[in-house]
Point group: D2
Chain length 466, copies 4
């Protein structure tokens, strides 16, 4: 995904209770969530008496070495991987956050975005709070600190003040809380280890990797506590609960082997490919997908259409910050590090190219050109998500609205702009059908980035309507 794509999830979280190698298990869990954030990582561990944290900028394998993991001794841990947004770099914003208070230490990991964070920050600063970071997560710690009562009451009172998207892990010396916002915008699952310990993860792929059995998803509006090896669950709010998980989690962010709300991601993508075929078929010689996230949809299309799926585009796996980037001069000479078209596959062919989304349009334009330069006779672009016309305020780093090409162009104009022979976006209805293919599924989806129907107030943020 690295560097190629124009959409970025901001985080993944992983937690574990009741395992003597908590930090190491957490390391593996975070590693399998690396696709959700590659700029920074951290692990906070508790030995029941004291919290210890190690965090840094880079991939999980860069931030931690064996001796650092060993130094994080304890039987409970929470960890975080992060995509660093433009404005918010720096070690101060890297999670987990650790707060030292007279009543004990408090650690927090957060995936999502608090829409009313600035309002809360303003209010808290008036009351004397002072912030060390520009992160909205720090606000949560301050809110908890300022409540009264038992810890779970204080946390619930704080959570009731938050609006927006959050999958949270909160850790004290002797207990761990897992929370999901009342819309269920970001995913969070519970699993159980062979030894009885509990793990929490943004995606189920992280459960599999550590040998944990999937128990269930945390429900929207639910807070779960593990203490003394036991699970306690409650709703933290009286407000109406919705089930509006982010559609882009299925379409783009999550790993294909993860299940979200019990639905396998790869399967939904294949169905979206099939659906695209039904909505918009065109005759062609081969079907190709833009790697990696569009491969499943391309295979689905190919199966439905009976047109062979071929490997017409190859992504080069270069990793990490040590890679020496080509100069502009070399790039202009054709040095291409990210994606290349396979000429012997696409030459002289009519190509159906499946991609998961179009954000600014520049990448699509470049890929179509790659294919045509490699000899493709026709390039028909099929997108496995509806057109993105609205920014996300729930933890996805889409561009500003004015940069969203579908905000500015209709499909016809965009088709010309990217140089394709035809272009089609899956319908909202179509994507819904692909995700909710099982009859029993009645939960809903957040599709605000397609249709502007935001599940929360936008507070000071504004968007332009059509």
């Amino acid at each position: 995904m690295y560097d190629l794509k124009e959409l970025h999830e901001e985080c993944g979280v992983f937690g574990i209770a009741n395992h003597k190698d908590a930090a190491q298990i957490c390391y593996y869990g975070l590693h399998s969530l690396q696709h959700r954030g590659q700029e920074a990582a951290g692990i906070l561990v508790s030995n029941q008496h004291k919290l210890t944290v190690h965090k840094g900028e880079g991939l999980v394998t860069e931030v931690f070495n064996a001796s650092q993991i060993q130094a994080l001794s304890g039987d409970m841990a929470i960890g975080h991987v992060r995509y660093s947004t433009a404005g918010g770099g720096g070690i101060a914003n890297v999670q987990p956050f650790l707060f030292r208070t007279m009543q004990g230490d408090l650690g927090i990991c957060h995936n999502g975005n608090i829409v009313n964070a600035n309002l809360l920050k303003y209010e808290l600063e008036i009351q004397g709070s002072i912030f060390s970071s520009s992160s909205d997560t720090e606000v949560i710690g301050h809110l908890i600190k300022r409540q009264n009562g038992r810890m779970i009451e204080r946390i619930c009172q704080a959570l009731q003040r938050l609006d927006g998207a959050f999958a949270l892990l909160i850790m004290l010396e002797d207990r761990l809380y897992a929370v999901r916002d009342k819309y269920g915008l970001r995913p969070l699952s519970i699993g159980q280890l062979p030894n009885g310990g509990y793990v929490f993860a943004s995606e189920t792929c992280a459960l599999d990797i550590v040998g944990a059995k999937f128990l269930r998803d945390i429900e929207p509006g639910e807070i779960v506590r593990v203490k003394d090896g036991k699970l306690l669950s409650m709703l933290y709010t009286d407000e109406p609960i919705q089930d509006k998980i982010c559609a882009m989690e299925y379409i783009y962010f999550s790993r294909p082997d993860s299940d979200l709300d019990g639905i396998n991601v790869h399967t939904t993508r294949k169905l979206a490919g099939k659906q695209l075929y039904q909505e918009s078929h065109v005759d062609a010689d081969i079907v190709i997908g833009v790697p990696d996230s569009s491969i499943s949809a391309a295979i689905g299309y190919s199966e439905a259409a009976g047109i062979p799926y071929e490997m017409g585009l190859i992504k080069n796996k270069y990793v990490g910050r040590t890679f020496i980037q080509p100069t502009q001069e070399l790039r202009s000479q054709g040095v291409r590090m990210k994606l290349s078209a396979v000429s012997s596959i696409v030459n002289n062919k009519r190509v159906i190219m499946i991609d998961d989304s179009i954000v600014r349009g520049t990448t699509s334009k470049r890929i179509v050109k790659l294919l045509k330069d490699a000899g493709a006779k026709e390039v028909h672009v099929r997108i496995a998500s509806p057109a993105i016309k609205y920014p996300c305020f729930y933890g996805v780093d889409t561009s500003t609205q004015s940069e969203l090409i579908s905000h500015k162009m209709d499909v016809h104009e965009l088709c010309q702009y990217i140089g394709a022979d035809s272009l089609y976006f899956i319908s909202e209805e179509g994507i819904k059908k692909s995700i909710h293919f099982k009859k029993e599924h009645t939960c809903d989806l957040c599709m605000a980035c397609f249709n502007g129907h935001y599940v929360t107030s936008l507070y000071e943020n504004e968007v332009e309507r059509d």
Copy 2:
């Protein structure tokens, strides 16, 4: 491929002449050949007066940083990536080799294995040679050094003494030679840059990445020289030429987007999948492939059979030597870093699992168990290569013959051993058909590891026949 597989190619080579950023182009070329060797890398550069080398253990991105690439100034370069065999570790064996002689410097990169290296070494030591490494490549330098005449004559005389597999790049201050053994066992291609410069690479994927146009493959027995920007070609031997490229290059080693002898690797794999269907079909619910190298064959099978291809196995991309390995205890608890089965896909399904090869059998056994543990009702294993019964002496690190499970068990026994419901290896005829699908193709394949028909004498090496 890293760590998961039991077969290892030993090398990839890349060369470039007539480009002011030769070392940097070479870096990108080697990077795209990284799958051919991940233990060490090196680049040797010439500024027409003097050769300078940098090499080290690790991935290309680990061995080189920007300032080191910059320090390698010159307009000609050869480079190498290497899989370090058990006995032959250490910096002394890392290529390119550089020899300092009174007549000037000489650099060599080698992919393959010289079968008569020990005999030649013995003879050379008698004559007073002394070796700094345990590599067979060093022998080549000594042989060249001991010949007389013009440099090209000396090289050709030396090459005539070599038996075995070699794709060689040899560089002097002002010229670069590219050579392929007379059987054509290892691939080597020529490409041309937009600026007219020439590049040489083990696989065409490295040409694409640097913006070079594929010109042609070096022929078996051919030596090509670039000097003053011009190509000169000749045969270095009067002995009969064969065209016996290694079948495993198609089946397993090469990148799917590479073309070998004009044949696209991904395409041959898809055809092998199709062929497997025709030779051995069994009814099932889904087809899955062992990532990454068996995906193409699985898709081919799926298309031919009309059974959906699904992502039932996921490989975790952990990279580099900094990854903290799970302890045996954690592994026994189910922490799995390399491969996991996707339960929501395979549960309760009859699965056709396509893999590219079976070497020692332990990996296959483990994967079948993963699938069954994840709920697969049946697992039918289909292998896209014939059974490997003989060791390779031409540059592939297969195990010793006694470790080759197909040397010890027939298909029936092996099926039981790995716990599959059925097991089938593609026929030799079938793999040939998949690779030589174009009518005009008349070249042959080395399939010694399947049938023991070695293209060379084995010298002191021995194998047991059935």
Copy 3:
């Protein structure tokens, strides 16, 4: 000093205003203050609009590379080196601290120790503050934040709440403040660059290294502001000012080429050596010093006594955390990495050994044994500081009182314990005379660690009186 010594200064600070390469100048300044703290380092830079920080654990040369320094663009910077106390490790405690507030950013570097930090923390938490670190420095930011008025008023009000030792640098987007506590316990100097810019440093050696001219020391109780290139100075408190700089700064911590309050450190050490001779001479063949900090005193003694100074002990300069420590087994076999005695110098000699201090006594005991093992006939230990009987609460990491050997033993017992032939500590009067050798000097010294006369209240801390 590294690893050898039992006393640790906790910090050094450096600041600069009005230089386009502020971060790089700061890097050199911190590098020359490295002896004051080797566990962590950080630099905070302002480009007049925004503060950016980089910090990490390790030596200055380990924490920063060229591209990180380049990324810290701005014309004002403050930086910090830190000795990490046992309890307070972790990146959260590494300075500079950066606070993000609605009125703008605020950065702080602190050398010293706030004696009433816990009381203030308690009070602040009651008011709703929440802390991210266990550092007393974070308290300062919270105090400033909670005041009203113009920034300088807010800072002065906050400073009035602090008791203890502090040399502070505080930076906002467009201005830099430098402060010294009202007792002048920790040093802080002002220098001026050739281009007119101002620099601030814990020691004058850091001024020299960056080409700055020494202007003057910050006075006890003074706050200095640089804004728009101009200096403004005022006292921040009406309380009585004292001039009680820490005696150990002269005796042990500071670099010999630094001047503190206008007095050269090397010179005071030589005079202390001379004074020791006058107070306690014994006949001997050679004088030696424990490197590095006792060399000056040893030379002073030698000159006064007319007994030759010899290099009888050698410190091995091993650096950084990458050094592989000898195992206990190797150490028991005589592998000695820190200090060795030079047998050809001390064999058969009567030795006067000068050291700067005795804390727990174990090091002295080990050195005396080294010398005797190397053949010294007699070892007369002379200590250039009075006996340390009381813990320091002003920023020096002495052990707890119960670990201070001079708290438990008188000179006679201690002499026996360390195995010396005689032992003498310089008198309090003697050390004062050595430091205040110029007539005009009327300032006083903090000698609380020798005599228990603490300059502040101790709040919740307690010490046992004789």
Copy 4:
């Protein structure tokens, strides 16, 4: 020494036999010889069956980490630290050299320079040798390889062909040889460990550090073998033996705590200082030394003259290749990383400045200017070596003769050039007296760099006589 000085020793060697942690002991030994070469390091270990090497560019602590030392298992080791000469960089030249032959492996470490290396190389290439490096050490391996008979005979025959300076360690699977050239130009000592094992080191400081007892120096022309825990000694040549150890070893290269031929280095330097006083006294206020190597001489002068020794110059200890160098612009603004003058010490003083040598004169000129800029009224330079007028061919990297300032200027001109108030070089007689202060000492010194009396033929090298 790093970067400050204009003379460079090229190597230090360390060997050990009969200790289960041979590589680790070797690591400590090399670490204490780091001042003899800071560009590269290597250790070669034998487990009685096989030799394994690890080497790289950088300091000992940079080249080796704990796991690499652990991987070097065996009970015999030889190691090397190296100053990389301009022409001969690159990993190929880093020692120890390891040769793989049919009769077994052979490892070599070399301190010194073979004067007839090019002649031998020419002869060997005619016979078919081919070299991988530009190092003269590789020649030794080839020579040994080409002899007949028992190994010790082959080595002795090879040694007889060598002319020049060499302290060699040669290791086979089961034995270790230590050799010194017949002039004794480079030092080499034997020590014994508490467990009975033997160690060899360029300087005795490396014996001390590993807990070894000094036994004796290897004699000029001697070869010592350790096998099965026993020492065997013989002369390898019938030619006349001389005892001409390099005078600069005492004056500049060796650590002050080392003994060379039984003479302590620090002591000879102090005596040289005393001698300088006797030969050339001038009235002054203080004596200072250029750190680090001239401190002993300065103290000697001070004691003899009764003028106080002061710390007027401070060297900044920056280490390793990660240090960010100041730009030319910053340097011109007075940023000084290497050496600074202490103004409060030298201001208004008449200074006697002791240095160990003058090579190109630029450093001396710079230091005198530093002192004058810091306020010194007079600067009288006294050099503890005679003027260097001839290049060294025995392993010291002096400049070419034309760069030697004393080849071009007499003392008077040079004094003006460096801007000193007076300048004096110690006499040849004087330096001899300082080194051979004990009556019983009859061995001689190589002082070719002062007087051009080379102990060997110069072969193709030439020097201009006065």
